[in-house]
Symmetry: D2
Subunit: 384 residues, 4 copies
Amino acid sequence: MYVEPLVEQMVDWRRHLHMHPELSFHEHETARFVAGVLGTLPGVEVSHPTPTSVLGVLRGGAGDGPCVALRADIDALPISEENDFAFRSQHEGVMHACGHEGHTAMLLGAATTLAPLAPELRGEIRFVFQHAEELLPGGALDVIASGAFDGVDFVTGCHLLSMLPFGVVAVPAGPCMAAADMFTLTIRGQGGHGAMPQGSVDPVAVGAQVVTNLQHVVSRRTSPIDSVVVSVTQFHGGTADNIIPDTVSLGGTVRTFDDASRARTKAAMEQIIAGVVAAHGASYELDYVDGYDPVVNDPGVAELVAGCVREVDGVELVDVEPITGGDDMTYFLQQAPGAYFFVGTRSEEAGSTFPHHHPRFTIDERSLPHGAETLVRATLAALA
Amino acid sequence: MYVEPLVEQMVDWRRHLHMHPELSFHEHETARFVAGVLGTLPGVEVSHPTPTSVLGVLRGGAGDGPCVALRADIDALPISEENDFAFRSQHEGVMHACGHEGHTAMLLGAATTLAPLAPELRGEIRFVFQHAEELLPGGALDVIASGAFDGVDFVTGCHLLSMLPFGVVAVPAGPCMAAADMFTLTIRGQGGHGAMPQGSVDPVAVGAQVVTNLQHVVSRRTSPIDSVVVSVTQFHGGTADNIIPDTVSLGGTVRTFDDASRARTKAAMEQIIAGVVAAHGASYELDYVDGYDPVVNDPGVAELVAGCVREVDGVELVDVEPITGGDDMTYFLQQAPGAYFFVGTRSEEAGSTFPHHHPRFTIDERSLPHGAETLVRATLAALA
Amino acid sequence: MYVEPLVEQMVDWRRHLHMHPELSFHEHETARFVAGVLGTLPGVEVSHPTPTSVLGVLRGGAGDGPCVALRADIDALPISEENDFAFRSQHEGVMHACGHEGHTAMLLGAATTLAPLAPELRGEIRFVFQHAEELLPGGALDVIASGAFDGVDFVTGCHLLSMLPFGVVAVPAGPCMAAADMFTLTIRGQGGHGAMPQGSVDPVAVGAQVVTNLQHVVSRRTSPIDSVVVSVTQFHGGTADNIIPDTVSLGGTVRTFDDASRARTKAAMEQIIAGVVAAHGASYELDYVDGYDPVVNDPGVAELVAGCVREVDGVELVDVEPITGGDDMTYFLQQAPGAYFFVGTRSEEAGSTFPHHHPRFTIDERSLPHGAETLVRATLAALA
Amino acid sequence: MYVEPLVEQMVDWRRHLHMHPELSFHEHETARFVAGVLGTLPGVEVSHPTPTSVLGVLRGGAGDGPCVALRADIDALPISEENDFAFRSQHEGVMHACGHEGHTAMLLGAATTLAPLAPELRGEIRFVFQHAEELLPGGALDVIASGAFDGVDFVTGCHLLSMLPFGVVAVPAGPCMAAADMFTLTIRGQGGHGAMPQGSVDPVAVGAQVVTNLQHVVSRRTSPIDSVVVSVTQFHGGTADNIIPDTVSLGGTVRTFDDASRARTKAAMEQIIAGVVAAHGASYELDYVDGYDPVVNDPGVAELVAGCVREVDGVELVDVEPITGGDDMTYFLQQAPGAYFFVGTRSEEAGSTFPHHHPRFTIDERSLPHGAETLVRATLAALA
């Protein structure tokens, strides 16, 4: 394996980053750390397309050729870690619970591996460390707007997945991740004394009915063959046990895989919210934010990357169903043909058995070489 | 009217207090202010039975006689005021939204009126400015524990009510306010990615079902003739739109008027919570805190106070149904025969049309003399 | 006791009637039976004001005097009896589950007792055996329309109650039973294949949400001090497991004790139904039928009847809270001053522990003399 | 087209059958009619493997060869037709609302076409007109148990679908229809008077909560990528507006496409039912009936049939997503390699725009030749 000499180094990077997670758009220390590592690599020009993203450019010494971009996301989540590693998060309430610190470590590993090979390569390689994948509108569009992605001919990158077992990699052709919309719903009732509900319009009770009725969007109004998610993940209201509040605020996410389904889901949600709220004499404001578009891989690139995976020792290439998570990798894939691939990390030994965004999420660090090696081989194949 | 000369002064006191509200157990400035006013009155000994309560003792000069206690509560609520008076709350997020600043002003008015009359009176008068009525376990028990209430023979006090019109006063005989219990319910699911509900136990959806099912306690399991309230006033869970949280926290209040009903309600709540939570594979912790006992007036004292009300100019004595609010006045009434009375304050002119604990609650200041005059007359009658 | 000689006879009558229950407006055999017994009494003129009601008129021989009406209701319910008495219902699906057969037996007992006393009485006694108390619009208005109640000066009657213990009788002054409204709600969705909910609007799911949301009328929108019932007692929809039906039909009852509350409850119900149905793209028709007005006793008559109760051996006069059941006795009480009284029948020995309208409802037959004796004494007192 | 001469005849058959629908296991007239037509065909031996199914056997005259079975289902549904055709259902409450009368007409058309060709064919053809597809346990297993399917080497048949447009046919390879389970749920509360909910356990309110909570099976506990349906299609309880019933009865259908999902869904349902019912002090009995297994086509046979479709004039071969309907065709496909295919019938002109099992369902009769021609050609290809 090309990345053999970096196996331990990638683990160290990953653990350092895991200890120092930063929220989306606030990845200052992370960006500094990444830039520091890249700065040590021969031939890599380092810059910051935006305050908290990092770009490394490596030009081949063997003449003109295509421009290959490799992308990792670097931000963390507002979750309080419940793992008790020595290297657990040092920032209370912030955690790398999605594997981005692994993505960063893998891309640093790939860059370190590719840098010395540049003199013999044609074309150009861009190492894109993108901020703010976890928070709309995401960092990818900023990076693209900065011009850092101009002229890219081929793009790849990967996501560690705890729902895939350690030892497998998947490179779907076509749609592979969902449209990831978000919403905030404010329900406005009429506050009052907790002991006199009759004088009020109780927004907690109304909000509960809204959540309950919204289940029908998926269970009754969506074809069972279609794949739609409506999750109300936030519910906040009330300041004291004896005060019925004026308002409650709900939030959540909606996932769909095509435009018709997205429009239908949005319309059904609004119809249900409007009806239930009116039923109880309350009112509402719905702020529905279109999230990332679905991630769609180029079939040709997917085949090229899959071919590289087959050559990686200890890795099995597998098929995977579309993932309801969203990712702003989609915008890079709209700029240039490319493929996003998924690296399995689940294992009992490593305790990598929790879902993403769980306070005990972690990865099996032995999967880092799987992703890094595939990035290196895909780059070499694309430049060949 | 005895309190005629103090009409404007009480308005000033009330407005000052309204501008400077303090949360339960934190009434430091309020207590200082009250002590300051009492300190200027001839013959009144001022002390602090607890750090944020105030006691004024006035001894009659005409020999031994009964000990009369007059009580006001002085704390405010965690509510952001939405009134736009010049004298609106200066403390963001804290508000006198229950009228306690009016209670305090009335009792200061009564004390100021009674102080110069003391030389001709027999017995003793205690002015009790009690902290923390709004927050369990309440301040009344602390005041009693301090000994400040020892030897009291007769107790009265009043509550301004925006559900009664300005111009009326009610002095119920028997039960007049509810047992006011509180609860905190933590529902523990299993967090995960908002896009993959199948890997999680969604505590927001379960919490919503709990709220919805809890409506049955009152609507299906309580006799329509009985008076029970179960209000879920707080619902908090979730930190990000794409994360299903591990837990949500609910809170609220339960009101009942007798022990059997209280026990039945508690049991029904726990049965419903346990069942719904189990239905969805979640778990829970219920922290149910018994609140103040029901407030029960002594019929004899109620009649004496009602007699005084009939003599107050411009006031009509009315009947009133039991109030589902609770009040730790109950503990003073368990120490000595007494009566709690209710002073109407609702009026369009004064904008006093909102329920208690509403961000736009206010009182009609013309009701202050009604309460103060009744306190003075009841005291004189009791000492006669 | 006047009715002492009839104790066993009343039990026989009650058992006969219990074995042969008839639904409202179909009390043909029951009316024939009652008329048969009355026909044997000296001086009683028997007629049928309507096809299934019976009137017995007994004129006093001692000159003019007031006209006293005694009323019993005679119809049964569409319930399948689950008792296993020898005298259980012979009519499958029909049952005296509310005690009307006892009312009938008691009034027959009173008539049999009073008939021989007529020569010495002044005035007139009417024995009114009314049909169809259980089904709107009730039989009372028919009886009144027939002229059978013209000229009545005083009316009484009683209801056996399994929530009162055997041995007590209550004669409330003022409001004592509720307005008893009924409703039928048709929810119209769009039928389809059970396996393809997305092509349909599922009226079963919508109907379930309507029932659930309607709980808020009582739990959130009614003062805890007020007494309101909203019961959805019928839900019918669907013909096959794999067909989503087009419509479901719900029905139920609403109980209130005054006009404002009745109007508020009706409005809240319709708002909730309209909102929830709209939320899910369905439509509805609500047929709300105003039921019997609240039953209100004349305080003077109540006192007179209470006085009679005090003289009945083995009976304790008790207070009772208003009863949420309705009764078209109200219309007789609107014609003449009167009082409806309640006879306790609950006892373990007799198995009289089930609520009214329950398939195992029964009475303690030892309570029959309590009601009959009170009817006799109240009549004698009124005519005195 | 082979079936060209029979186009009008098939329409006549279809309309006759549409006018005379019969419920599952009661298809006596239908079976007689089918046997009558088959009896007129040269060389076809007619028998009744079960009282209401029909088998026609046609032996080739050119020697031994494979045995091909063609299958149609012949039963109707308990639905009241809302179409106003001249040929609308003559049997109130029974309707061909799934297209089985079209299946029957097509198979009669294929038989009539194939009979004269038999002398030149090798092998054997069986025309299987199966009863009771719509009602568990279905008729297919009976037919197989009768021996009528012994020795079959190849099986095909088709279903008209209003969700596919007229002019297309689909022949999926692999899983194409769902496991179709059914359930009956009895919820046992405690009946009582509608005005006194506190004395009862209201099974209507509990049943409504069960329906509402069951939505979570699909919306929260199933992967969005998986395809699961849980439809409560029946809800029956209550006999009078003022009686809370003892029990309600619910029923519905569950659709899944694999064993793990089926087991998970069943377990989640039972957990939810048990929890919600316990929450309210009720009890339940769940009768869950495993329905037809998923329908899985043999890929080789599917390809052969698809090849035949391509040769039918005016028909386009399309792909189709798995259908959540179930079909006991699955049991024939477990006996011999085969393929079930789907014939599009949706068109505005013909009013074929309603979903299956809808009271206004109908087919575009121009699709009958598409199915019949494919049956004929597939038979000839299989025997070639």
